[in-house]
């Protein structure tokens, strides 16, 4: 028998990931043993600290790149930028939850380590260059989210949401594994680089590639489930509505961003050779996603559901950047992700501030007259709505601008057109919230509650949204730098 | 075996059978032989247990049928065979019928990997130990089927308890075997036995030790702790007192067997005793050298073998007989310990059972795995594995250091866990008492 060899492993390349996982594991025990009931906020602060440390650990790695674990994991600037985005998303979500959980009587210390584990899954998705690792990342992310979705335990909608998400998520995971198996059957490898090499060697004839295409299709379906692309989006509104609001915020940005980031890597590197096959499919998906997502949001009076549909629509826009698969497209993707993440987290923060204890109604009527009561909150919400709609001085505008130009330059002009039209439709329901806040009298007495965590969240998100909108150059530069030597 | 049959059929009788037919005939012969031996062992065990427990309880036990009651089990068997087979009206007929088969078949099947003597193993699987445990857990499915199909409250409760207990104690059992797998580097039961030559110190640890077949793992701290944990887990797996909660007759009649009668009941009984035999056998094989003992190695070396073509088959015969004798003696000894435990201990409560398994045995076996790593590291590893400082030590010193170190780890772990466990149990007792006092109405 050949002597077994463990391939050399460079753990430095995984430093942020390891920091998050190690910190979360330790925090789990610290929380159980040292932090008494009722002081669980401390766990939250420690979790935020852990995420920030992980982000800092990533800083010196900016000029490092390489792959390890036999090429299953890679560290490049693309993954590092994504790591930072995910760390910010995780930290802001925890900040939102700090007071939300005790207010709703569902405070348990596990919430914070779970978010950290989810962030670790997202980082794994960003760093993975092997279908198996991507599967691991998706599962690590999903399983923690199943729990988090059902975290508002006695509330039935939360349980229902968790159940729904679990069943559909498991279904999607099944698709993913079958897809991997078929791709492996066709190419003999699960590594993205290996698949790309196989496709480069092969002159592609459709009938020889049935297995490969079927596998790639199944992987695509799984990703569509996770990113809630139409027609795989049915679960999204229910799950967002049922789950605790900070979790919904986290999911709307985090899951989506991580899965799309991984999808970009898969499509752009592994399956670049069969672009002719997947491009029309994805284009159709993106088009209906944009249309259905935005049209669906039109009729909603529940703000959480509206934000859910809006997140579906935004996934469509982000998909544009992925499809182009050029440097421009990937840049636009990263930029859009950052802008969308901050904006959406801010919007959810305002929703949390308005959320009354023990209620499961998030009516748009509650926003009526908010300007008279809490002018700053109303202004912040208006800013986020403008940004989501893509109105000029905000981050959302710049992001949409970049993504549409990238799509146009990439030869997907008609999709860019669909995007512009749907954005115009979307403006209606985003601005409806603004109109309610500024021009109508309150329908009922709603006492907005603000606290340190929420304040920080809304302020950071608001300032960033404005900043990215007004001075986009450094961020674009960052996105451009991130794509240097992308590939691994 | 194969050569022997081949010589007989194609050589002596000149039938000219193809190779696969000869092999098949050989396998069928071995299997049939084993399955004749298994019920005999079970019959003997029932008699043995009844007599031994009677002696402990100051009774005589069965003594009427035949000399000293030796035919009693046969009489019981005949009675079972001719009893009416009652299937309750509410039961699920087919599952009810299938359950005893699902319980018995895997149990018999586990005989496949147990070595009886030198070279006397039905199948030398390279994953024998894993096979043993994989198959043993199938019968849990059968128990659940029995409890569910009976449509009886006692049966279902008994089945739930049985399954919960079996799965809980399977983990410490398997974990304690991992320590031995780490020491030997193999899952083959035959090779695990072969690794236990020596005299107190295994020849594998210290080359040059005279090999009299006494290098059992039980003589090392790692093996001793593993053996204790494994045997306790085996008591629970085999549903022996003090872990006979699934069939606690004072609480739930007969557990999952409540609605079974006649030979179906007999099959459950058979499965249980065969399982007990096998668990004792595996304890003997893995920790106490199986057929290893003074003389077997020497006899086998004199016998006919590829390495020694001049040997005489008489020695093979004697080696085999002596090996089987040692093996059965150890197995019967462990079964005696099982009976002894039944005579000495009362039954545990369910919560005590679960606590003991999860909070005491599992941590202890986990520590033992670490001990095993230390043992292997000190006795076997050298500079190429990254341990420079042990290279200068003599093998005896290495063995001594390993022994002392693992002993220290295990004793400290045992004392700590025992103290923790006792404290937890005491706290629990206080809570129970307070609840009891609190529930008594104060104003009469």
């Amino acid at each position: 028998m050949e002597p077994l060899q463990i391939p050399p492993v460079n753990l430095i390349l995984l430093a942020p990931l390891l920091t998050v996982v190690g910190w979360a594991s330790a925090l789990l025990l610290v929380d159980v043993f040292l932090i008494p009931e009722g002081k669980k906020k401390l766990t939250g602060y420690l979790a935020i600290a852990g995420l920030l440390v992980a982000g800092l650990v990533g800083l010196p790695l900016w000029n490092v790149s390489g792959s390890t674990f036999s090429g299953m994991l890679v560290l490049d600037r693309y993954s590092l930028s994504l790591t930072w985005i995910f760390v910010i998303v995780g930290a802001l979500s925890i900040a939102m939850a700090l007071d939300y959980l005790p207010r709703h009587g569902i405070e348990q210390g596990e919430f914070y380590p779970l978010i950290m584990f989810a962030v670790a899954g997202m980082i794994l998705l960003a760093q993975g260059t092997d279908l198996i690792v991507l599967f691991l990342g998706i599962e690590a992310l999903s399983i923690t989210l199943y729990i988090l979705t059902g975290f508002a335990y006695p509330r039935l909608t939360s349980e229902e949401a968790a159940m729904k998400y679990l069943v559909l998520g498991a279904f999607a995971a099944g698709f993913f594994v079958y897809g991997i198996a078929l791709v492996y059957g066709a190419t003999g490898t699960t590594s993205l680089a290996g698949i790309a090499e196989f496709l480069g060697r092969q002159t592609l004839v459709a009938e020889d590639q049935t297995l490969l295409l079927a596998g790639a299709g199944m992987v695509l379906i799984a990703f569509s489930f996770k990113t809630a692309l139409v027609p795989f989006h049915m679960w999204t509104p229910d799950v967002y509505e049922g789950s605790p609001t900070p979790v919904a915020a986290f999911m709307s940005v985090g899951t989506k961003g991580a899965a799309l980031a991984a999808l970009l890597r898969v499509l752009a590197f592994a399956f670049e050779g069969v672009q002719a096959y997947w491009l029309p499919v994805l284009a159709a998906l993106a088009a209906i996603t944009m249309v259905v997502g935005n049209l669906g949001a039109l009729g909603q009076t529940n703000v959480k559901r509206m934000l859910a549909y809006s997140s579906i629509g935004h996934a469509g826009y982000i998909l544009l950047g992925i499809m182009v698969a050029s440097e421009r497209g990937a840049e636009a993707f990263l930029f859009y992700l950052l802008a969308y993440a901050l904006t959406n987290l801010g919007a959810f923060g305002v929703v949390i501030a308005l959320e009354q204890q023990g209620e499961s109604v998030w009516s748009i009527e509650d926003f009526a007259g908010l300007y008279q009561r809490r002018p700053m909150l109303a202004v912040a919400m208006a800013l986020f709505m403008f940004s989501l709609a893509g109105v000029p001085p905000t981050a959302g505008f710049m992001a949409k601008f970049f993504i549409f130009t990238a799509a146009y330059e990439g030869g997907l002009g008609w999709l860019a057109l669909v995007g512009v039209i749907t954005s115009a439709i979307a403006a209606y329901f985003y601005l409806r919230v603004v109109v309610k806040m500024f021009m109508q009298e309150p329908a009922r007495e709603v006492q907005p509650e603000l606290n340190r965590g929420l304040n920080a969240d809304i302020i950071i998100a608001g300032v960033a949204t404005l900043l990215i909108g007004l001075v986009p150059t450094p961020f674009i530069f960052l996105a451009q730098q991130s794509l240097v030597a992308l590939g691994g | 075996m194969y050569e022997l049959l081949d010589a007989l059929i194609n050589g002596r009788l000149g039938l000219g059978w193809p190779g696969w037919a000869v092999a098949l005939l050989g396998h069928v012969a071995v299997a049939t032989l084993l399955f004749l031996v298994a019920p005999v062992q079970m019959l003997f065990f029932t008699y043995y247990e009844r007599r031994a427990i009677a002696r402990m309880q100051d009774r005589i036990g069965p003594n009427r049928v035949g000399p000293e009651g030796i035919w009693q089990p046969i009489a019981d068997g005949v009675k079972m065979f001719t009893k009416e087979d009652i299937v309750p009206a509410a039961a699920d007929r087919y599952v009810h019928l299938l359950a005893p088969i699902v319980v018995v078949a895997p149990t018999m099947f586990m005989f496949a990997v147990v070595p009886w003597g030198p070279g006397m193993v039905p199948v030398d699987l390279n994953v024998g130990l894993l096979f043993f445990f994989a198959i043993s857990s199938i019968s849990a499915v059968g128990l659940m089927m029995a409890g569910w199909a009976s449509n009886n409250k006692f049966a279902l409760l008994g089945a739930m308890r049985a399954v919960a207990q079996m799965v809980s104690y399977e983990i410490p059992a398997v974990l304690s075997l991992i320590a031995i797998v780490m020491l030997t580097g193999t899952l083959s039961v035959v090779q695990i036995v072969a690794a236990q030559g020596g005299l107190v110190i295994s020849t594998a640890d210290l080359p040059g030790v005279p090999d009299v077949g006494l290098g059992w793992f039980i003589f090392t701290p790692v093996g001793l702790l593993a053996c204790l944990c494994f045997f306790i887990a085996a008591l629970a797996e085999g549903e022996r007192t003090p872990f006979d909660i699934p069939e606690a007759d004072s609480e739930i009649v007969a557990g999952y067997m409540t609605e079974y009668s006649g030979m179906k009941f007999g099959l459950f009984y058979l499965a249980q005793y065969v399982l007990n035999f096998l668990l004792c056998a595996i304890t003997a094989v893995v920790f106490c050298g199986g057929w290893q003992g003074p003389g077997v190695g020497w006899l086998a070396a004199q016998g006919l073998s590829p390495a020694n073509p001049d040997g005489s088959w008489v020695f093979n015969l004697f080696a085999g007989m002596l090996g089987v004798f040692y093996f059965l003696a150890k197995t019967y000894f462990f079964f005696f310990v099982m009976i002894w435990a039944r005579g000495a201990f009362p039954r545990l409560r369910v919560d005590q059972l679960m606590d003991f398994g999860w909070k005491f045995l599992i941590p202890l076996t986990l520590v033992n795995v670490v001990s095993a790593a230390v043992w292997v590291g000190i006795t076997r590893w050298g500079p190429e594995e990254g341990l420079d400082f042990t290279a200068q030590w003599s093998p005896l010193l290495r063995w001594g250091v390993a022994f002392a170190l693992t002993m220290a780890i295990n004793v400290v772990a045992y004392l700590t866990l025992a103290r923790l466990y006792a404290a937890a149990q005491a706290a629990r007792g206080r809570v129970d008492l307070e609840e009891l006092v609190g529930s008594v109405p104060t104003s009469a």
Binding site: P3, L4, I6, L28, L29 | L24, H27, V30, A31, F35, F81, E84, D85, A89, A90, I101, V104, A105, P106, M108, F109, P122, V123, L125, N126, F131, S150, N151, N152, K153, A155, L156, A164, V167, S168, V174, L175, I178, V181, G185, T186, L187, V253, E259, G262, M263, K264, L267, V350, D351, M354, D355, W358, I362, L366, V369, G377, R380, E384, G386
Partner: protein, 118 residues
Amino acid sequence: MLGAYLPILVMFLIAVFIAAFVIIVSSLLGPRRSTVRKLAPYESGMEPIGPAIRRIPVKFYVVAMLFIVFDIEVVFFYPYALVFRDLAGPGLVAMGVFFLVLVVGFVYEWKKGALKWE
């Protein structure tokens, strides 16, 4: 390679055959005189109340879940224990991390009371 499992297959068939055979023979030998009372569920002589199969306490499911988690981890342990000596240092470190994760989970569930049987 798979040839080693032929005797296993033979043994399996014979084991199933013996079990089935015994049941068939005993059902031929034994009498059949069933009455309504005899076919009723056995409840120590009381009239059965309600169905036997009802909701099962959740603690059994907790045990089942813990078992699955641990059993899978133990199954990962076995291949490692086999090649433990060949892997030497790096393997020990890797398995140490695995072991540590296992212990973290174990300590956590212990402290959370998942192992408590009420």
